[in-house]
Subunit: 495 residues, 2 copies
């Protein structure tokens, strides 16, 4: 008998459909909606949240989970039940009125952040950010008690289930043991080399769009189950059966749109590759943000900045945009796309200096959450650590501690997943190539099928049936580690 | 104390938000969604329906309504409570399993209809349509018992609240007393006149789109709260705060898109003009399909096919499309847009012959619902009545009894609202002009503000606070009647 379990499946199915509806409405808001629709849309999204919240807080849900735990379930059902329990613990740990308070404070703080960033006014942001921080700590404490973790780990667990900060500490320490010297060496060497030739624009938006669509097709994106549109901040939204990607175009820079599209396509392939049999069940969802980011970075950074792929892409770009042929050679594009330079802005960073941006934010947010630092001291601490890790200091907070939306929107514990994802991407790509040595050759013909076939079998189809580490263990022979990422950087950027 | 009433407001508010979400998802399905998203979308829409159904069937809702009826409420609150009760009666009269059966049968029948119509195969449609008819009668009986009406009136009440078939019988009898002779006279006279010059295409889609947007602005459409897009079947969707219009373009015929846009803009102005204070409450909704159709036909047929408006529009068209100038004169356009000719297809009919199409369907669907006719006899009965009312007979059922989606989709009782709406449009437009004689002059300058101001005050803002007849009584001095429509036809088409 699996009576309780079946009841749970029905409940979580409904929550998932509601959350999918929210995904469609979010996409519409970012891509299509006229400004005047904002209030009504907020209310629609809030109503969906309230309904989901009512479902997860149903008074009998805990008992159903307990009953289901003594039912005879197969492996995936057991994993599903475990994910249900995780969702239930997260969803019920924080009192409803605190959830509402947070939501309102975060919305207020996001609005204040947009203005404060434009005005370079950290003081103006401070009271709003303090409110969000205080409420996040309060919610983190409630979750920490329910999960039996530290407060920071409880927040982290929302984005990367089962990841803990002691693990991150040791992974990041390993990165820090070689990255500073390595980065300095690469920069020094690149200085002595010829500068890559930059293709000259303008690059017509229509052409960029067409190439983006062609490359999405090459990667394997199924346009019967998804779209590409334009939004201010590119994202991968919608639902696995109808994946909505967005990008934005800059007539003077075709790389940002094309690489952005490829990045989001990596996310989309993961969503589309989740097991259809477990659609709308917790176990059928993506494993977390580390795994998600690994899939986007695998496509963008590992596959599409490889010399093999650029051998294919160079002529495609050349035919589309014309102009100086020297710029479109694979070797030149590769040098262009592997240029290393410390900068102030995380989202513009290359893959060698990116980890420093993340390590900085990870240290600061932990100190803030754990009460070891006051928010008023953030700008100073930011600049000090920036100097230490990247050797540069922002002239203002706009390009310093106010550059990201994460903290104002309450996403504490999110930043580490970017670099954990980059490490996982390297590890997975190396294992895929080892398992199928044809993958690089295929990429040089614009053929992603061997890579995607392997990813579908080993990563995407695993969904949330195991932890990130267990999926990596099965797929690559090891839990998440630094080695493959280091080897990747050495191969690509070393002598 | 208004405790029960306030509880009801909260419940119905939630239902309305869910229904608005459904509106956005329907729009997306028709305009944006890739085909492969269809299954997931069906499930999203079904989930929203189930949630709404659960809310209206909440076991305490009837008691809350009874309690609220003895609370002290102001006029609008009382009207709101009456609308809540109406929604509750409709929503609870039919058992949930019958609702589900109907929904499935209708979906199957729509699919069968698309194929059967293409294949001109009424026999193939018959079993599916029979199933839909039988279930509609079963549901109609349940509603009839709850409402204390006949079965057909219970179905009619879904689309035009409080309208009854004896009323329609007498209104349609009045139409039939003059329309056949009048139509014959008009056709005879138009034969003796010069044929209007047809503007020659092709008409670039982009230009049609630009003119459509300009005319929407002229009518008063607020693009901060709405959009115009493309779909196979034009419609007005979304929610009042974010009205989503669609049209389709034909390079060889600019009139269909432009007049279609103006028609849908009439619907949109009504939605946008509903009272913001009663947003998301039953009383704040549009009064029904007769009133809705009156607003689209008022803009399209009354205002935009008037010689005054065409005086403005002619030069606009001419500048946009160029070509033969004779075609763009107001008098020529007016003759072109007032051409009367009996045809087989309802949606292509002019406003003089349109009522015959509706009367035909009204008689046949009543006979089917009331058991006076068998479905197998529909094609013969259709053709016979077509001969009698319009003097022509379709060569096949594709252009006869299978042309409309209404019956296959279970919308019995809907057709009369088209002609009731046309009558209401004439009556309202006449009253508006009488109240403000500047309206026609303003239209000749492309200025809809005087007309829309009057409509907003007298029609849109009334929402569902009164019956259609009571709104018309207050706005025009009379309940719904044939006189104004007859006068309109005589003025426009007579000697």
């Amino acid at each position: 008998m699996t009576e309780a379990y079946k009841k749970l499946e029905a409940r979580f199915h409904r929550m998932s459909v509601l959350s999918g509806i929210g995904g469609m409405l979010h996409w519409d808001m970012a891509v299509i909606m006229p400004d005047g629709g904002a209030d009504a849309r907020s209310e629609q999204l809030a109503t969906l949240s309230v309904l989901e919240n009512e479902l997860i807080n149903a008074p009998d849900l805990g008992d159903l989970i307990s009953s289901a735990e003594s039912e005879r379930l197969d492996d995936w059902q057991q994993a599903n039940l475990a994910e249900m329990k995780r969702a239930w613990v997260h969803g019920t740990a924080v009192p409803v009125d605190l959830v509402e308070k947070m939501s309102r404070a975060e919305t207020r703080c996001e609005v204040a952040w947009r203005k404060a960033r434009a005005d370079n006014d950290f003081k103006g942001l401070l009271p709003h950010l303090q409110e969000v921080l205080d409420l996040s700590i309060e919610a983190g404490k409630a979750k920490a008690e329910a999960l039996g973790t530290s407060v920071y780990d409880a927040l982290l667990d929302q984005y990367d289930p089962m990841m803990r900060s002691d693990r991150i500490d040791s992974l990041f320490a390993e990165l820090e043991s070689f990255l500073p010297d390595f980065t300095a060496d690469v920069i020094e060497r690149q200085k002595s080399e010829d500068k890559p030739v930059k293709p000259t624009g303008p690059f017509a938006v229509e052409t960029q769009n067409r190439i983006g669509l062609d490359l999405m097709k090459a990667v394997g994106f199924d346009f019967d189950h998804g779209r590409l549109d334009i939004s201010h901040h590119p994202f991968c939204g919608g639902i696995p059966e109808d994946v909505r990607l967005t990008t934005r175009y800059d007539e003077n820079d075709f790389t940002s749109a094309i690489m952005g599209v490829l990045h989001e396509t990596g996310h989309a392939m993961y969503e589309r590759g989740l097991p259809a049999d477990w659609q709308n069940q917790p176990v059928g969802k993506a494993r977390g943000m580390t795994m998600h980011e690994s899939q986007s970075l695998l496509v963008e950074m590992q596959a599409c900045r490889s010399e093999e792929f650029l051998t294919y892409a160079g002529p495609v770009f050349k035919e589309a945009f014309g102009g100086d042929s020297a710029a479109w050679g694979a070797a030149n594009l590769h040098r262009l796309y592997t240029r290393v330079e410390p900068g102030l802005i995380r989202v513009d960073a290359d893959e060698v200096t990116y980890p420093a941006h993340v390590i900085l934010r990870y240290r600061l947010e932990r100190a803030l959450i754990e009460g070891d630092m006051k928010l008023v001291d953030l700008p100073g601490a930011w600049n000090e650590l920036m100097q230490k890790l990247l050797g540069i200091v922002p002239e203002d907070d706009r390009n310093g501690c106010m550059q990201d939306i994460h903290w104002p929107s309450g996403a504490w514990g999110y930043f580490p997943t970017y670099t954990l994802g980059a490490m996982a991407a390297a590890q997975i790509f190396a294992a895929a190539k080892e398992s199928n040595p044809e993958i690089p050759n295929a990429l040089s013909r614009g053929d992603f099928a061997p890579l995607m076939g392997w990813l579908r079998a080993n990563i995407h189809s695993q969904a949330s049936s195991k932890s990130t580490d267990a999926i990596l263990q099965a797929a690559t022979g090891k839990p998440l580690g630094v080695d493959a990422f280091r080897t990747h950087l050495e191969n690509r950027y070393g002598q």
